[in-house]
Amino acid sequence: SQQGEEDPQALSIQEGENATMNCSYKTSINNLQWYRQNSGRGLVHLILIRSNEREKHSGRLRVTLDTSKKSSSLLITASRAADTASYFCAGNQFYFGTGTSLTVIP
């Protein structure tokens, strides 16, 4: 990928469990954004974390950023079947990672 990689590529969990996805990027960034993509749809923005922030919360989402390691993680707590989607990180505007496909089993 031009910008980075998400890990794992695919994740399958039971409803109610937590899901953690990781993102590594290659260049310095001003901010890092996470997006969700449902099958056959466009991407939807979830959360933005700036380079001077270490952690950010939004509802059931928690994002961390470690600029020294050029990595970020997205935690979804108490997952629901509706969370089933692909999740992408993006740094510096328009370089998206390879995505993590999350399946939440009811």
Binding site: G42, L43, H45, L48, A90, F96, G97, G99, S101
Partner: protein, 112 residues
């Protein structure tokens, strides 16, 4: 949810045809983007624009062109479609370069 619209939603067309994919947004965003995405894969930037009369090439810009005559409209044209162009094309916009992007639902293009 979406204030950015792409048409057509699906298109199946023969090789050699000229194709224009439409993208319009009603949010007054200056920045607009076109991406190509194969199923289950990452997004590749094709073209982007910082405003009216501004267009820039992305990593995957060959064989396509864009125009930005009006703020709300950013069409993508393939002059001569080939089977290798079969993919999903996503349009997005943002207020500034650092702000979140709003995506359309894409055009799924199949070239026979």
């Amino acid at each position: 949810e979406a204030d950015i619209y792409q048409t057509p939603r699906y298109l199946v067309i023969g090789t050699g045809k000229k194709i224009t994919l439409e993208c319009s947004q009603t949010m007054g965003h200056d920045k607009m983007y076109w991406y190509q995405q194969d199923p289950g894969m990452e997004l590749h930037l094709i073209h982007y624009s910082y405003g009216v009369n501004s267009t820039e090439k992305g990593d995957l810009s060959s064989e396509s062109t864009v125009s930005r005559i009006r703020t709300e409209h950013f069409p993508l044209t393939l002059e001569s479609a080939r089977p290798s162009h079969t993919s999903q094309y996503l349009c997005a916009s943002s207020r500034t370069g650092d702000q979140p992007q709003h995506f359309g639902d894409g055009t799924r293009l199949s070239i026979l």
